[in-house]
Symmetry: D2
Subunit: 308 residues, 4 copies
Amino acid sequence: MATHYLTEEVQGRYHYTVGPYAAPVLRVRPGDRIVVETQDAFEGKIADATARPSQAVQYPFVNPQNGPIYVEGASRGDALVVRIESIVPRGPQPRGTTCLVPYFGGTTATETTAMLHEPLPEIVRKVEVTETRIRWNDRLTFPYRPFIGTISTSPQIDSIGALTPGNHGGNMDLPDVCPGATIYLPVRVDGALLYLGDCHAIQGDGEVCGVAVEHPTHTTIAVDVRKEWPLSWPRLENDRFIMSIGSARPMEDAARIAYADLVKWMVSDYGFDKWEAYLVLTQVGLARLGNMVDPNYTIGAGIAKEYL
Amino acid sequence: MATHYLTEEVQGRYHYTVGPYAAPVLRVRPGDRIVVETQDAFEGKIADATARPSQAVQYPFVNPQNGPIYVEGASRGDALVVRIESIVPRGPQPRGTTCLVPYFGGTTATETTAMLHEPLPEIVRKVEVTETRIRWNDRLTFPYRPFIGTISTSPQIDSIGALTPGNHGGNMDLPDVCPGATIYLPVRVDGALLYLGDCHAIQGDGEVCGVAVEHPTHTTIAVDVRKEWPLSWPRLENDRFIMSIGSARPMEDAARIAYADLVKWMVSDYGFDKWEAYLVLTQVGLARLGNMVDPNYTIGAGIAKEYL
Amino acid sequence: MATHYLTEEVQGRYHYTVGPYAAPVLRVRPGDRIVVETQDAFEGKIADATARPSQAVQYPFVNPQNGPIYVEGASRGDALVVRIESIVPRGPQPRGTTCLVPYFGGTTATETTAMLHEPLPEIVRKVEVTETRIRWNDRLTFPYRPFIGTISTSPQIDSIGALTPGNHGGNMDLPDVCPGATIYLPVRVDGALLYLGDCHAIQGDGEVCGVAVEHPTHTTIAVDVRKEWPLSWPRLENDRFIMSIGSARPMEDAARIAYADLVKWMVSDYGFDKWEAYLVLTQVGLARLGNMVDPNYTIGAGIAKEYL
Amino acid sequence: MATHYLTEEVQGRYHYTVGPYAAPVLRVRPGDRIVVETQDAFEGKIADATARPSQAVQYPFVNPQNGPIYVEGASRGDALVVRIESIVPRGPQPRGTTCLVPYFGGTTATETTAMLHEPLPEIVRKVEVTETRIRWNDRLTFPYRPFIGTISTSPQIDSIGALTPGNHGGNMDLPDVCPGATIYLPVRVDGALLYLGDCHAIQGDGEVCGVAVEHPTHTTIAVDVRKEWPLSWPRLENDRFIMSIGSARPMEDAARIAYADLVKWMVSDYGFDKWEAYLVLTQVGLARLGNMVDPNYTIGAGIAKEYL
């Protein structure tokens, strides 16, 4: 079990679209560990509070992704198993960035929820992030609760923008994708082609303004392959629960995907009758709103392991 | 501070629509406590596992509500303050009911998400409910986590079906409306006209099949009036957080309502700047999916009191 | 076959909610004709271009409805048949009104699609409306294409705000509800209790700003009863096509309702196989976007009679 | 002005994803005409009524596209102008195909509107298509009303599945994209990289079952470049109206995009004040439901030229 270092230098150019058309930057084997130098979602271009996001960042060159990482032995129909071991902030302080981006967010007109309003103001906030806390201002301190905002395997023939979550994973912005969790992603091309980036120091449910406390990190993962476990949508597991993850619009479709896939999972792997699973989830299902801001919204639906 | 008993006998006919057209069954004063004998959502008509919900229950005569309760001194523009003191199951065992109802639920075609599929099967499950637990089957036991599924003040001139949540409260199916919590409801007519019912012994996020563990209860509440606090949507408070509650379709609108109202609340009552509130909620906001099955979906958006 | 005159005087107070709680203003028999003096949607309160809609009109006292009209012999499970004979503008010029209302419309934040934007500007436009044309400005003239914006039978026990369309009809804002058309509405209470109002001099598909050219009229209808024809949703017929009308959010649900009901109608009344109807509608179905601005959106789905 | 022939032989492999990663099959100049041999959406694999679509076609290898066609002189920020000159059916009879595909369609559970229902039946229908009519069955004949279902320019860095419509065009399934119309598409990479295919012999509004009368064709287009006309979304023009085309979920977002873009277009090119355009469209706007079945729904919003 080797440990690989996917440094900025090894990475070279980061990617803003997730697909089968980029050459792998790393080849690893099942069981290997990888330490990844992730960039923040703006690639460090929002230097201080005077920056204007609409000028500093040129769409679609946002949300830079590390990878693709080729995992030996992963074939279409398998699942890629990614255990998230740790996330540690890196870079000079203040290394946390959040902001309001014009026509982006959960309670603003956007490109697709198109309206005739002028955009909300552009506001940038830079904050200090340590391994334990985020100093929001003189009064407020938030705990450091890091997770991977965007993690994907490659689609079979499409290449999907790094801002978009879908059945390949992507920009789910789901706080459960954190150290201690294992995420399962569908393998659709040889080698799986894993991409990741966009770590958040903390994020509320829904990521309502659209920008969490973005920060560059050293993120350590271990990868494995579960053979012949075809997934329609990403799944996740930790000590407490299992979770299926849906990304779609409208938001109810994300919830439907997540709960329907979880029923399927309970039936195939845990011996539940289909209707029994449906009834049980009605009583003890757990739903987490990941994002309400990206091109698809993300909801995870889970169940505590004690009920399985 | 008097205690009133809204027994089945005092109630007489239950209500299936929430509005200003029914005569009050009780008049109380701010500070009073009321012990309410609620029915289950099927009014006890689903007697055993052989019942067919589509035959036992005739829409719109579902989800029976106690009330209306007239609260002296409550006027349009005030908020009705309802503290939930306790919920205790009542009636003969097995007193818990859940089931699959044709064309009702979160992952089925419905009357409005109309499709050409045949309905899912009708399945009824009766379970024992005590003050501490629910015996699901030989293998599984769920904790008793009761809450009020439906609680409303009267709309000004409309009368809204007891199955529908909205800005008057209604069938929110939000597990946070539980003992220890205080819910704030908009007063739109003299006396507020409080309705409640539909207590759940436990429910998962989203109530995915549409029917939680329904059960009859003794529910004890205390009511108060906060003068001149006009609310657009219901709000809630407990020891840990404050929460705004949105009910709408599509589901993202429920989330938008909840977060936008919470921003407004943080600005008006907690001294936040509007954009600061928006940015803070992005990092530490809490979202709860109440229901994904009713005529409107319900999401609560909250923030821990330590950040206020 | 009598002709009744539902003048302003006979009407007395107009209604802003549609339900079984108001006393009938008129009793008619199947086959009778009724000439109705409708008000405009603002009840004439927007007198000139200097008015501010947010001040002139106090929600929920908008969209005044004539009725209820009790139709002898109509019982639950029947359909009310309303043939629209003519719509003629009345009142002093300029008698047409359109405007921008804060937080109301199709491309603006609203109460339910809640956002942090300031409202769009309030703008009022008064226009001359004759029986043939609408003088928009010096350059533009629109044809007079009148229809009934809001027409309903009473729900069984609910009372629904006059702004809301639903399976009772309501504020569908569907231009096909015009002279020459016959609309079928579900009868849910004895006498059907017909309400109508909100005539538009012209309206584009979707009524995008939310306010068509509103105007007071003499609207002439003839009513009839089709016994034992239980309708889930309103239907419509004219010389060219039959149409089912769905009102819901999100908009796809309105379209699903309309097409699914039309399949049902083609099967029950026109001898189609279910899947054949589905395939035929895929090739020659007609969809009309009524409104994209009301509490529910409305879509009519139709098929030309030549294919039946 | 040359005429190019993009035959099956010149095309070679068709494409199932639309992006910048495929080599151009043709280079043309502004003003040139191209005759394209399009395949039907199933690439001819549904040979007769006994075929099962779920077996004959393997997702994502559906909806084969011709192209990419490199248009000299087209640069990012320009608009590609495509005039549709004619569409003529080709291939042996019966050359029209429609069918029900499991979990695909407007009134069925789908991969994203995920439900617990079994799929609707798979049904295939082959029909004769001539240049004037479609022989549906012994009783019914439909007129031949051909249009291009899928037409796109390349995204900048993403590659989007041929089933998905978006701001690059794509699988809009909009009947207005027919002979006599000119469609404007945003140029995002050098040469525009035009893809097209998926011609329909006829289609109803919304394409409710998801499969129109698909057929192979000779489609003749002429291309041009409008320099420095950056488009956010596709636009269309014919003798009667101009139209903006939105594709999104939920469906109201497609309508919002279309109307908001049309307001913008009326302001920039036709001298309208923004609010005036909004008010005028409310009275005379035209909306067309393209599809209610694809990964995004499509609505076109237009206005008759007489009002410009």
